[in-house]
Symmetry: C2
Subunit: 277 residues, 2 copies
């Protein structure tokens, strides 16, 4: 293998069992078991995000299909020089990953130290919006929540302990890398709501049981949206701590997909003017 590119010194991997790429082995199964402080990023857009200045995470190494090196030249050149860039032919890569990795681009990343709730809520301004998720176990939905939170400029995402890990490979991919740069903390749902309220944030619980409609709501300062999973919805006792808000539905539906709900609510909250307090 040969690249006509300066300053790229890839490490060729010929043996799928090579211990240097052990972190990339059978990633589909390992996603399900979690990994301490590490995660796998996949695909060009996400790996670019991981290596970018906006990233809260550190790239520890890259593993690329031979044919995908050229497209990432600028990323590789900007990496700290000690960062290994492993390159393998497609069949070797597929055997390492444990499935056909058509994208041909992987990176091993280090999760950031999680900020505390207090840190995330230290400096709340009147325009700030927060997204709180309770019981979101589906990686697509988690990724969608982070994508929408980032796209509408939410200040942070707050997850309860029953949510899945946003650093799962698929959640990162669906988030288009937003997981890698959006600050988030994990705590009990009640603790999150209390901390937000103590910081002067109005906390809305999105629930079909609400009588107040989102479209009639005007915020008067910082606001948080609490979103639950579609089936069970939010626990009653959590809703009771918040201002319940619903989205009007037709056709016998009582709810949207949770990521779609977040987009609808964030759009409304970020485009309607603050009411006079």
């Amino acid at each position: 293998m040969q690249w006509e590119i300066d300053q790229i010194d890839p490490i060729i991997i010929d043996d799928p069992e090579d211990p240097r790429v052990a972190a990339y082995r059978d990633i589909r199964e390992r996603d399900l078991t979690g990994r301490q402080g590490l995660f796998i990023a996949e695909g060009e857009v996400v790996v670019r995000g991981l290596a970018s200045a906006a990233s809260r995470c550190r790239p520890l190494s890259l593993l690329l299909a031979e044919k995908r090196v050229a497209v990432l030249t600028d990323v590789i050149q900007a990496l700290p020089s000690a960062t290994p860039v492993y390159v393998a032919r497609q069949p070797v890569l597929d055997r390492i990953a444990g499935f056909e990795l058509h994208r041909g681009i992987l990176a091993l990343g280090e999760k950031p130290a999680p900020p505390s709730l207090a840190e995330l809520l230290a400096d709340v301004g009147p325009q700030d919006v927060f997204v709180v998720a309770s019981g979101i176990g589906n990686h697509d939905n988690m990724g969608g929540l982070f994508r929408n939170a980032a796209a509408f400029g939410a200040k942070a995402v707050l997850l309860d302990a029953t949510c899945c890990d946003p650093f799962y490979r698929k959640a990162i991919r669906v988030s288009v890398g937003a997981v890698l740069r959006t600050p988030f903390a994990i705590a009990e749902a009640e603790v999150i709501v209390d901390a937000l309220q103590q910081a002067g944030v109005e906390v809305l619980a999105l629930t079909p049981s609400a009588t107040e409609r989102l479209s009639d709501y005007r915020r008067s300062g910082p606001v948080a949206l609490v979103l639950g999973s579609e089936g069970p919805g939010l626990p009653r006792k959590l809703i009771d701590r918040c201002r319940p808000i619903g989205i009007a539905m037709a056709g016998g539906f009582d709810s949207l997909n949770v990521a779609a709900t977040s987009a609808v609510a964030l759009h409304h909250l970020t485009t309607t003017a603050l009411a006079r307090g």
Copy 2:
């Protein structure tokens, strides 16, 4: 096998090769090849929708895991008596379907005769909203579009010929059955836009290239949203026939997922009052 339920006369299937369940064989692969006028519905909610009065489709047969018969008793009793209900033990069902079918509930349905554009646009009222999709090839996104169209009461969905089939099993599932009851037609995108405009419908093209923002837009009558796929977006010549509208984004994003986009736009259009024309 035995059920203590009157009027259920299930046909027991012991042999995965039984020709009576040929339509259910290897459904994952067959999804990709299409099927003439027929489709597979999966899961309790979707199969209930297929058999409901709101359905535009006809259930031709059911194939159930033994343990799932009881939950559908009311549905089975309401089916026309000539509708076969096949029942198999889980391992037999898995071999028929070609994968582990944990949900244990399948139905074979017949697609409705597709209405023409003219029929769908024959009686347009001032509050009507239409969803137009161009180039949506992802089944999750197609299902999400239909779910959101139904949940916000859109009158019809109009697809161009480059969209995937909404009757794919996964699209139906993601739509929570909305595909089975929402009227839709398929035509060239330009033909759809022309027909809408001739029917007095204002046609909005959702595109990051727009200068006008969705949140500033007030409809003055019937309106249609044209949505494209995330990567390439809508063709320029299609945008030029429409009123381009964009959603303001933060964080370096220029677009949301297309299903999320539809939810945001439909919520805005269905909750803001008509402007005086």
